[in-house]
């Protein structure tokens, strides 16, 4: 919290600050995600730039009051452009001892703590593993602590509703929201309206929440325990209409847009899985767009149904995460063989196996790239911000339709649940991605009659014709068995197999011809270090690069959306830098790909802690590389790859080993 004016210790005073990072933390049942969402909407309406990071446990309700059950929502708001949810909170709202314990270590000295003291009884302290009361033992002396009896104030406020204390107590998150809304001058009218809308079926709950919200707001104003409240000016924005959007909603909307732009009905076959289910939920709401959603019996049926729909001429999509990707692998291979358009949306999460269902990771890239038997190339598109999920969905659909191929669209838990303001595009400006179905025979049979060959290829795209059932004269059979080039009958002939393997590979490789050239961003023009990224690291990498440049050093940045094939000139760009640093949420997936494709000494900066990179971690890594170059180290760093916190060697071809060869 950078203060622009001197703190004034008089009630009713207002300070203007340029940004703040607030973290709401409580029990899973305390409604912290909802509180965060509302605060986000209020902030968006205030015109601040913002970025959010929800963080919740995999259990729906872990034992109340336990550390495992802590759910948190972090929001970064500012009067200038920001990219990340912030490395550390300036303000921590802790609804119970467990929330305090699980989060307080992230709060820097002099940070603000807003605590619901009512929850700090002996039992709750013990459950959180506190031997002594942190409110009394001096362990919080480094912070500005505000002890507020939120539960009792909420109960008092809700008394007129006649709600039972047990029920009324549940409104305390709205008390906290009201309090923080006052503290940061958020507009409250929208939340008040929202409460009425959201709880209109249970008037007593609506009333209790509204009263608690208002009580929190008024408490801030009248209790005189805060030295001041804070004003954050609206950020400067490009002109336009904005909305706040999470990655999963943007992705769902992108699929609807792709269906509209392709003039094809959308079919989603999906099995519920965290953190991808929200795409299924969102699309299920929009049946008036003609979208058919099938909650399948399993992951395999989800993708199978999508592929069947594609055969019939629909835009077939399946969405999943983690283990679901493993289960779908066989059908992706079938789609490669059938050469039909199909989107496989992977909202990556921590693995292996069930792993970390609610935590983000970028560790499916190599699976998307290679996770099938046989030579089975599949294009890969990766979204880089929550709102970019919209455009990435359209781009993935474009490639799938044009080249008649399954396409992997990679997002992750951070993008899926994180949100940012999005300047809405003019729908008319979106690309036409429609393709033509085959309607006429394209060959002559041995009998001299016109016939249809399903595996003749377009000379430009190498795509085969998409002839859908219902088209007379174009009846044909496709399948997982190898097919004869052109005519498309079953063929076990060795030379033909090689032709087909190479044709499928050339088709996917050839997509690069029409991709925009990779262009590294290097405002100073003399950078020696290139930051190469993909996916959700975009925010942290961009912010890290900005900090380094602010400090007077040069660094270049290149963020890939197309992971297979790569942009046509990628090798050339990579080779023009002395150091290629690849921050990624895995142990080196993209790093391996560029090393093997271009024989460049790319170096991974890994982070697999279930959370996105902090800007500081990227900044530190860049500065280290620059320092090393400037100190004239001729031999590459002998420590091998390091993780984001500078610990131990990670896997991946070590530069030292290469140097030794």
């Amino acid at each position: 919290m950078t203060t622009k004016s001197k703190p004034v210790n008089e009630p009713g005073k207002v300070e203007t600050i340029d940004q703040v990072v607030i973290r709401f933390a409580g029990d899973s049942g305390d409604g912290m995600q909802l509180t965060g969402d509302r605060f986000t909407d209020e902030s968006a309406l205030s015109g601040n730039d913002l970025s959010t990071l929800p963080n919740f446990p995999a259990e729906i309700r872990a034992p109340a009051g336990s550390l495992a059950g802590v759910s948190a929502f972090q929001i970064h708001i500012s009067d200038h452009e920001i990219l990340t949810p912030g490395d550390a909170p300036n303000v921590l709202v802790a609804m119970n001892p467990a929330a305090l314990k699980a989060n307080v270590n992230d709060l820097p000295a002099a940070g603000t703590l807003v605590i619901n003291v009512d929850s700090f009884d002996e039992r709750a302290l013990a459950k959180a593993g506190y031997e002594t009361d942190p409110l009394k033992d001096g362990s919080l002396s480094a912070f500005r602590v505000y002890e507020i009896p939120m539960t009792s104030l909420t109960l008092e406020a809700c008394r007129p509703t006649g709600a039972k204390p047990r029920d009324a107590e549940r409104s305390k998150n709205f008390f906290a929201l009201g309090l923080l809304s006052w503290l940061y001058h958020r507009p409250i009218i929208d939340t008040e309206r929202w409460i009425v809308r959201r709880y209109n079926r249970v008037p007593i709950v609506a009333e209790a929440n509204a009263l608690a919200f208002r009580a929190g707001y008024n408490f801030g104003e009248t209790a005189e325990i805060f030295e001041s409240s804070y004003d954050i000016a609206p950020a400067e924005h490009l002109p336009g209409t904005y909305t706040n959007v999470t990655g999963n909603v943007a992705l769902a909307w992108g699929l609807l847009a792709a269906s509209h732009l392709a003039k094809l009905p959308l079919f989603l076959g999906s099995y519920p899985i965290t953190p991808a289910s929200d795409i299924l939920h969102e699309l299920s709401k929009h049946k008036n767009f003609g979208v058919r959603t099938l909650q399948a019996e399993d992951e395999i049926a989800g993708i199978g149904a999508a592929l069947g729909a594609a055969f019939g001429g629909a835009l077939g999509v399946t969405t999943t995460s983690g283990p679901g990707i493993d289960l779908k692998a066989e059908t992706v291979g079938l789609a490669v063989s059938l050469e039909l358009p199909l989107l496989i949306v992977d909202i990556q999460r921590g693995g292996p196996s069930t792993g970390l269902p609610t935590k983000t990771e970028q560790s499916d890239l190599l699976h998307a790239m290679f996770g099938r038997h046989g030579e089975a190339p599949v294009p890969i598109v990766a979204a880089k911000t929550p709102s970019h999920c919209f455009y990435a969905a359209i781009e993935a659909a474009r490639i799938a339709l044009k080249y008649r191929t399954p396409v992997y669209l990679l997002s992750d838990g951070y993008l899926a649940n994180g949100s940012e303001p999005w300047r809405l595009p003019d729908v008319e400006s979106l690309p036409d991605i429609s393709v033509e179905f085959a309607t006429e025979p394209n060959a002559t049979g041995t009998d001299g009659e016109p016939t249809f060959w399903p595996f003749t290829r377009d000379p430009d795209t190498l795509a085969r014709p998409w002839a859908i059932p219902g088209t007379p004269g174009l009846e044909h059979r496709i399948g997982g068995l190898e097919k004869q080039d052109g005519i498309g009958t079953v063929s076990y002939e060795p030379a033909n197999h090689e032709v087909m393997v190479r044709a499928r590979a050339a088709k996917i490789a050839g997509i690069a011809k029409n991709l925009p050239a990779a262009e590294a961003e290097d405002p100073d023009g003399d950078a020696r270090v290139l930051l190469l990224g993909w996916g959700s690291t975009y925010a942290a990498i961009t912010a890290g690069a900005k900090r380094v440049r602010k400090a007077g050093k040069s660094v270049a940045q290149l963020h890939l959306v197309h992971l297979n094939p790569f942009p046509p000139n990628l090798g050339e760009v990579l080779r023009s830098y002395e150091v290629i640093l690849v921050p990624e949420g895995n142990l080196g997936h993209l790093t391996r790909l560029v090393r093997s494709d271009f024989l460049v000494d790319a170096k991974v900066l890994s982070k697999v802690e279930g959370s996105p990179f902090r800007v500081g971690e990227i900044e530190r890594a860049i500065l280290q590389e620059i320092e090393r170059l400037e100190s004239g180290a001729a031999v590459p760093d002998a420590s091998g790859q390091v993780d984001a916190r500078g610990r131990g060697p990670a896997v991946g071809g070590s530069s030292a080993e290469e140097a030794a060869l």
Partner: protein, 340 residues
């Protein structure tokens, strides 16, 4: 059903130019010709007909049909066909599968396609053996089956496919066999005309790995005493002179009786439209395998809205409520704000 539609196509139109490569003597040949003989009678068009299969001997079926088709992956045909049938209600979608394909690896998809009542005609060729992988026991093989993978006899209790389908809430369940073309054609016709998911178990002889598995019941000379023809609205009886029959066992099940012993009025009258599937289920339990008198024909044919129609109905309702989707309004459906 004798009032055959005017044939617009001939059998030849439905056969692809591909050489049929099942083993000589395989029961699949007669099933293929039954289907190719039936389709012209149905008055349907090749371009609107799709055959989808998984893996196995039966799964080669689509290659031999001059229609649209997908030879997919093991067990997944019902799932793939579901996506097609739900998005293209104008098509006739057939699923051709085997006992291993649909009851082992693809068991999940089969039961869910049936309970959803997706408009599919599912023909399950049951030869009680894995043929394409050269002779391992299947989920319908009898206990004690000696095969390459069970040299000391198989230990697992087999599925009764008709019982399974009934338990999966199927609205149409039938059984036929590869030695009776006429019965196959009539059964397939009923399955095709059923407005929902239909499941037909076809006893099919694998003359290489499980020859004669159904001989005891379907050889010409055995049929009268070993096959129990199910006819809707008729007392269930069999035997050359209808001397055997099926009656209640007094405990909720059925038993085989001699008509002379119990009297005609004691026979159970078949009712394939009965909503409660108990009678159909009891019929499916009469034989423990193809060595006892076995019912064939339609066990159950009840009407329930098919899944695709229900999906379409929701789309129409949503349009009636909110109008056709507008992308620009969708993007602005949450809180929005403007900057100049």
């Amino acid at each position: 059903m004798t009032d055959v539609a005017v044939p617009l196509t001939t059998r030849k139109d439905w056969a692809s130019d591909q050489e049929v490569r099942w083993c000589p003597g395989c029961g699949d040949y007669s099933i293929l010709s039954a289907v190719q003989l039936l389709l012209p009678e149905l008055g349907v068009q090749r371009e609107n007909t799709v055959f989808i299969s998984g893996i196995g001997c039966a799964a080669r079926f689509p290659y031999y049909m001059n229609t649209y088709g997908i030879h997919s992956i093991h067990g997944r045909a019902p799932a793939i066909a579901t996506g097609l049938a739900v998005t293209r209600p104008d098509l006739d979608v057939w699923v051709v599968t085997g006992d291993g394909d649909s009851l082992s690896i693809g068991g999940n998809h089969l039961v869910h396609a049936l309970r959803r009542n997706v408009k599919l005609t599912i023909l399950m060729f049951n030869n009680q053996i894995y043929g394409l992988t050269k002779g391992q026991y299947s989920p319908t093989s009898e206990v004690g089956k000696i095969t390459k993978s069970t040299p000391f006899g198989s230990l697992d209790t087999p599925f009764n496919p008709v019982s399974l389908a009934l338990g999966a809430e199927a609205t149409f369940v039938a059984r036929t066999h590869d030695l009776d073309r006429k019965h196959m054609i009539e059964t397939f016709r009923r399955a095709h005309d059923h407005p929902g998911a239909s499941f037909v178990e076809v006893y099919q002889n694998c003359n290489v790995f499980n020859d004669g598995a159904f001989e005891a019941i379907n050889r010409k000379e055995n049929r009268a005493d070993m096959l129990i023809p199910l006819e809707h609205g008729q007392p269930i009886r069999y035997g050359a002179d209808g001397e055997h029959g099926v009656a209640s066992d007094g405990q909720g099940g059925l038993r085989l009786v001699e008509v002379a012993d119990v009297g005609e009025e004691a026979l159970v009258v078949h009712d394939e439209h009965r909503v409660n599937p108990s009678l159909a289920f009891a019929l499916s339990r009469l034989a423990t395998g193809p060595h006892e008198p076995t019912p064939i024909g339609v066990f159950r044919a009840v009407e329930r809205p098919d899944y695709g129609s229900l999906v379409d109905h929701q789309l129409l309702e949503a349009r009636a409520r909110g109008g056709a989707g507008d992308l620009s309004s969708l993007l602005r459906s949450g809180a929005t704000w403007n900057y100049d």
